[in-house]
């Protein structure tokens, strides 16, 4: 019996271990490498080899489950069959869930860190040529500011507050098609992933402190050759915000007359006033603003073709963009061409070639022309009898405006043009080495050059009159980035493990040349014709990075996820002993809806908890900041001269941030409601600061690592599908982010000052905090300006506050920060049959703006020959004793426009960014024209801004550099209100 039993068992087992072989192919019949095969109900399995082949021992009663990321799972019953040919089809739903994270891609479920994804449709609702504008208000924790309306200018992007106080760039790192850096046109974007926490950005180590934006460009989706054409045409009108300059009459009666108010009688001394200011002036209405700024056309065209075969896929596109500026003689044109191809060379080797060429040219402007256009007195007729702009200089009689300049004439006799071209070539070669190992080498060559031309004709008034001036500068940037990675993937039953390891190097070079000369004959503008006062300049620079990269991802049963990465960077910016830095990161998540207690829950259909920790860095201070230097940047009597330039700091090293993030993702009612909540705490240490030195050493600063800044906050993103019917859908998304910023660890407060306006960085304080004398309004008895005087004891504690008329007694104090308390956006998308109405809004609250333009255009008579702005409804100028006024008497205005909190205003705003109405024509109409889709639409951008800020647009720069201080509203190129007609075709 025992023997019989043994025999049967043998027989059974013989049956059970039938050798089953086969091949797995994809939808194009290409072998699929690394597909998982599992015997259902067991942990027994295998993967396909490089030819897509597999073999496995299975019993006839078994079922084989074929599994591959991004493809629908296939199931085959073994039965008598021993040779299988399995064709797998892509899972469209799953593909849309793939999130490109830079070095790797993951499904949404797999992600353990704080990321936000925007696809093409979500981006291109705004007509813009800059990706920043497309992001405004759409991603929680991402603050976007369009700080200039100049054609071709980009928006400022800040992710999770500000983590650095050094001057310069605080923009996030861009990664295009998996490689650091790169250029693209917004139309070519398939998706954008914003990486917000170190769990995701840790992979970018040294350069990830300011967050990372991963851009993926389009590729062919189907075998059918597809064409897409998009066109937009419309107008920009200048948006001067709340600035309206006074008319001739207003300037005469409400401003100039006040200069003559008698100190004793408090009445206007009309006899003297009319003598100095003839009454006829009132009727001379030559307001400059509407003559310099005009509505201007804007157009954009995009054409793309894509398609793919078994071995070859392509996406080719071209974009043409032409924006005429609202400010006289400005504009920008761009052409962008992209060619993306994918080649399957052999079953093991694939090759991707992406080429992007973007070129632009345009004309910029001179700051002073903008300045004088606002401030010119409206009594001055800027035209000759024949309608041409009038030449005006210091000798011109009967010209009222200060400095005797006619901006119309200056603009027409000068040229500030620029052009540039940027070429990126990506070569990505992937080699499948075996079923669990793949090698990829991603390489980008980048070459860019630009040229700036500044020309002032000899006929223009001003400093170059009778001489003319030309300067040209040209820059060449080139570099190579090469990333070489092994990618591993293994599966042990329910344990899934994958990862990557490799290295990267990045070299970038700059070479610049500039020259200028004077003595230009009339009618010419090239440097060749200059005859005097030549200057040349130029230089070379380079920067080198070397990095080691590794990452491991593990998950158990697609329920518990763990990702760890380790990056080592070395940068040429730092001395040998401190140039290497280590950047570990770890993140984990838990899919709770897979737990039994939630499996059948009708309300909650998905629930995920996430947590991450990691270290990121910031090396961006430029080369050689650690050396003691004497700059050979000048001459004396035409001989070379070197001046003390920099104090040495042999220990200089990176800024680094420890980032913590906790998040929860909830999907309710079959994902009709989608909620994301994140809490983060980012501590940036060893801040690279320009530490103040006693000036008596002959140096202002030394680069040092000191202090820390903590950004702590939360973000909420809420997407809801409010109505979902057959012909009617309505969805909204809302986001809000709150960030607290706190400085610590400084030996002494650091002050920055520009135009007398100061900001302070001190322990316990916030970045970009204004430090100004506090304005206390106007003395009701005398009309004099008043400030707060503070007295302190020996410890620096305040012992008294009082009112003073003496500006020099009013010590500066902290009066608010340029950073918002919270910011976010709201958008709504309503579709009925083919009609879609989309609206998007962005807001921020609680930031202060220093309204620097008011210093000139609300000047209390300090500048009698500048036009002034129309006052806000609650402004009142003091006229006589007893007046409760906001503005001092012009006769008693000493130092009233010196920096103080008087000009510091609430910068909160709500802005309707976009209203977009589109209609997708019924298919039968389209097909009659042999087209697939026709969509027509109207859109408006920046139509409404709600703010108390009484200046230009409240989107004010947060860049800390050279001429700009964060939160200071200086004369800027006004933003635009934009009205567009759009036509999109697919065929």
């Amino acid at each position: 019996m025992k023997k019989i039993l043994t025999f049967f068992l043998l027989l059974l087992s013989w049956q059970a271990f039938t050798q089953v072989t086969g091949v797995v192919v994809d939808e194009t019949d290409m072998p699929m490498i690394g597909a998982n095969i599992l015997i259902q109900g067991t942990s027994k399995g295998t993967t396909t080899d490089v030819d897509g082949k597999f073999s496995i021992q299975a019993a006839p009663s078994d079922s084989l489950v074929f599994d591959y990321i991004g493809y629908k799972t296939e199931k085959r019953w073994v039965g008598n069959q021993s040779l299988f040919h399995v064709k797998m089809m892509p899972d469209v739903l799953v593909i849309s869930d793939v999130v490109v994270m830079g070095y790797s891609s993951k499904t949404k479920t797999e992600i353990s860190s704080a990321v936000a994804v925007l696809n093409n449709e979500e981006l291109n609702d705004v007509m813009a040529n800059d990706v920043g504008s497309l992001l405004q208000g759409k991603v929680s924790g991402v603050q976007v500011l369009e700080s200039s309306g100049e054609p071709g200018s980009g928006a400022e992007i800040r992710i999770r507050g500000i983590s650095t106080i050094k001057p310069g760039n605080a923009e996030p790192l861009f990664v295009v098609d998996g490689i650091i850096g790169g250029t693209f046109d917004p139309n070519d974007v398939e998706s954008i992933t914003v990486l917000k926490d170190a769990g995701a950005t840790g992979m970018y180590g040294a350069r990830a402190n300011k967050g990372v934006i991963v851009v993926t460009t389009k590729k062919a989706k189907s075998e059918k050759v597809a064409f897409e054409f998009r066109s937009s045409y419309g107008y920009n009108t200048p948006d001067h915000g709340n600035i309206q300059m006074m008319s001739s009459q207003e300037f005469y009666d409400d401003f100039s007359a006040e200069l003559y108010r008698d100190k004793e009688t408090h009445e206007i001394d009309k006899i003297k006033f009319y003598l100095d200011y003839p009454q006829g002036l009132k009727s001379k209405n030559w307001g400059l603003v509407d003559r310099v700024f005009k509505p201007a056309p804007l157009q954009k065209y995009y054409l793309a073709a894509s398609g793919k075969s078994k071995k070859f896929g392509y996406y080719v596109s071209g974009t043409y963009y032409d924006e005429v500026g609202t400010f006289r003689n400005t504009g920008n044109k761009k052409i962008n061409v992209r060619v993306n191809t994918d080649l399957q060379l052999t079953s093991r080797v694939n090759l991707r070639n992406n080429i992007n060429i973007s070129s632009s040219k345009g004309t910029s402007y001179d700051y002073l022309d903008m300045y004088y256009s606002y401030l010119g007195v409206p009594w001055d007729n800027p035209f000759n009898a024949d309608g041409t702009p009038k030449y005006v200089d210091g000798h011109t009689q009967n010209w009222w405006s200060r400095d005797h300049i006619n901006p119309l004439h200056s603009i027409d006799n000068s040229d500030y043009s620029y052009k540039g071209i940027d070429v990126n070539y990506d070569l990505v070669l992937g080699v499948r080495l075996n079923s669990w190992l793949k090698f990829t080498t991603s390489n980008r060559m980048n070459f860019a050059t630009d040229k700036n031309h500044r020309f002032v004709s000899k006929v223009a008034a001003g400093t170059f009159h009778d001489k003319g001036f030309v300067s040209e500068s040209s820059n060449m940037y080139y570099g190579v980035t090469s990333t070489n990675l092994f990618r591993l993937e293994q599966k042990f039953g329910q344990h899934n493990l994958d990862g990557l390891i490799g290295g990267e190097f990045d070299r970038s070079y700059w070479e610049g040349l500039n020259l200028e000369g004077k003595g230009i004959p009339e009618g010419f503008s090239v440097p060749e014709v200059a005859s005097s006062e030549f200057k040349i300049g130029g230089g070379h620079d380079k920067s080198i990075f070397r990095s080691f990269i590794s990452q491991a991802n593990y998950n158990f049963d697609h329920t518990y996820f763990l990702t760890a990465s380790y990056r080592i960077d070395a940068s040429s910016n730092f001395p040998a002993n401190s140039r290497v830095a280590h950047f570990p990161s770890i993140s984990a998540s838990w899919i709770l809806n897979k737990m039994s207690f939630l499996e059948d829950n009708k309300t909650i259909n998905s629930l995920k908890l996430r947590g991450s920790f990691g270290v990121t860095g910031d090396p961006e201070i430029g080369a050689s900041r650690f050396l003691g230097l004497y700059a050979l940047n000048t001459q004396y009597s035409n001989r070379p001269a070197a001046t003390p330039y920099q104090l040495a700091n042999p220990n200089l090293t990176w800024e680094r941030t420890n980032q913590y993030n906790l998040g929860i993702d909830v999907g309710l009612y079959k994902d009709r409601i989608d909620l994301q909540f994140d809490f983060y705490n980012n501590v940036t240490k060893d801040l690279l600061i320009l530490a103040s030195q006693p000036l008596s050493q002959g140096f202002e600063y030394r680069w040092e690592n000191s202090g820390q800044v903590t950004n702590r906050g939360f973000e909420i993103g809420l997407s809801t599908m409010n109505v979902k019917r057959k012909h009617l859908t309505w969805s909204t998304t809302f986001n809000i982010a709150k960030n607290n910023n706190e400085l610590a660890g400084f030996d002494a407060p650091i002050f920055t000052t520009l135009s007398g306006i100061s900001q302070v960085y001190r322990n316990g304080g916030e970045i970009y905090t204004f430090m100004l004398p506090k304005w206390l309004g106007v003395d009701t008895e005398t009309g004099a300006p008043q400030w707060e005087k503070i007295e302190r004891n020996a410890n620096g504690d305040i012992i008294s506050r009082s009112v003073t008329n003496n500006y020099t007694e009013a010590a500066p104090q902290e009066v608010g920060s340029a950073l918002p308390k919270f910011s976010g956006g709201l958008s709504s998308n309503l579709t009925y049959r083919g009609v879609t109405l989309f609206a998007n809004m962005a807001y921020q609250y609680g930031n202060k703006i220093y309204n620097f333009t008011r210093v000139f255009m609300d000047n209390d008579g300090h500048e009698p020959y500048y036009n002034n702005m129309k006052p806000k409804s609650d402004w009142k100028r003091w006229e006589r004793p007893g007046d409760v006024a906001t503005h001092p008497s012009m006769q008693n205005n000493a130092l009233s426009k010196e920096p103080s909190s008087r000009y510091l205003e609430d910068g909160s705003f709500i802005k309707i960014r976009t209203i977009n109405l589109s209609y997708k024509l019924p298919n039968r109409w389209a097909s009659r024209l042999k087209l697939q889709d026709i969509t027509i639409g109207l859109s408006g951008n920046n139509l409404f801004t709600f703010t108390q800020f009484w200046g230009q647009d409240p989107e004010v720069t947060l860049v800390s550099q050279n001429w700009s201080m964060p939160g200071v509203s200086d004369f800027k190129y006004p933003n635009n209100k934009r009205y567009m007609f759009n036509l999109n075709l697919k065929f």
């Binding site: 050689s624 050979l632 000048t634 020099t808 000493a894 001429w963």
Partner: protein
Amino acid sequence: MKNTLFLIFVVAIFFSACSDLDVLPNDQLTTGSISIASDGIINVTNGNYALFKDGAEFNGIVDDNNCYLRQYFQMIDFAGDDIVCGQKTEDPLYYSFTYTHSASQSNSRFFWYVSYKITNGANTIIEFLEAKSSLTDDEKQLLGENYFLRAFVNFNLVRFYGKGYNNGDPSSNLGVILRRASGEDGQKARATVQEVYDVVLEDALHAADLMNQSRGKEYASKEAAWALLSRVYLFMEDYTNTIKYADKVINSGRFTLETSETYPSYFANALSSNETIWAIAFSASDNRGKFGSIASMIYSNGNSGWGEEFATYGYINLLQEHPQDVRASYIDTVFADDGTIQKKNGLEMFFITKFSFQDGDPNLSSPVLFRLAEMYLNRAEAYAHQNNETDALKNINEIRKNRGLADAQINSVPAGKTLLQVVLEERRLELAFEGHRFYDLIRNKKEINRTYWGYHIVGLTIGDINLSTQPSGADNLVIDWDDPRVLYYIPIDEIIANKLCVQN
């Protein structure tokens, strides 16, 4: 699999291995390479001169407004009574007119900063050359020039930021911080006025000994060091030495006064003039234009400058006592179409052209820091204090003879005037706008009287101006010679970063 993994790891390390990450700048000398480069010492010395004319980067920007010499002339003469403010301005030069100084005004901060940058550059060269066992003649000259530059900037610093040598006790009054070594600790207290003057004298004397070459008017020379000594001793009321070093310069035979015929073109051609002892060379490419030239505030041809400040009636009236005085050629009166003097903001426009017209350019000049005429006038002032009327007037007449006043010699002190007054009037006429008048008054303990219409009167509006009357009642119309505000505040940057430095 183990082997494969090991191999992968090795290859990954290879890909990320450090290559040459040492990047050196290609437009800068490093501290170590100054002494190695064949012309490193000459380059840094040239740099010390260049800092007088350049707009060095400050607060992260190169601001056209910032230039050592622009601040030097403006911060002295705008506080005096030769130039009236014709327009309120954002430029901190305004605070010199109004005496509303602060520790944070950027012109003063820049002036202080660049002074010490020159000192730092000079110290670097001095330390390097003093460490050598023997010096060539060329090296001795360069060493002397660096001692001279250090003395010159220290003397200017102590006048801007310290009380006058004859105001109170110089051995207890605070002067400025003395930096005599390039690498010393940043924390350092201010030396006394006496200590600063001692070091200035020591450096200048040493410089005079070392310099034996004449490299051109744009470089320091033995005679420039003597001229500095004459000026310093005058401030110290050491009249014997004032005369001694002025004599040395005058008797060196290297210099002659411009004549009545040539004087009107002197300042446009200062570098090639025999009257110049030392001037800072501005070449065509150093033209700082409307936004940064010294001329642009006090002169405009309608386009070239802001032209916002004018000569005062006090100066114009003195000049008009003798219509033949060729010094009037540096005043350019602006007339309106109707033939009256043109007004700007209610004030009559008298432009000043001492800093214009090198190569015909309205904004270009090579500012003169020492010239022969001053030596005569230093002697005159010293003799006046010694009550030596004959020699004082002799020196004055030597100047007048060459300024169109050969027929208006002063042979005796006119009734109602003192000898010192006569000397100071001649100094005012001759040296106006060159950074002297303000200190002539203070040094001689005379008030600065600015009772005239102008925007130095804080809060003045055009409606207030009535040229037929004198202003009254405003603050700061008359400034005492020992007013605390005749010196500037120590810049805020120094106070914050240097705990040992005490504010004025």
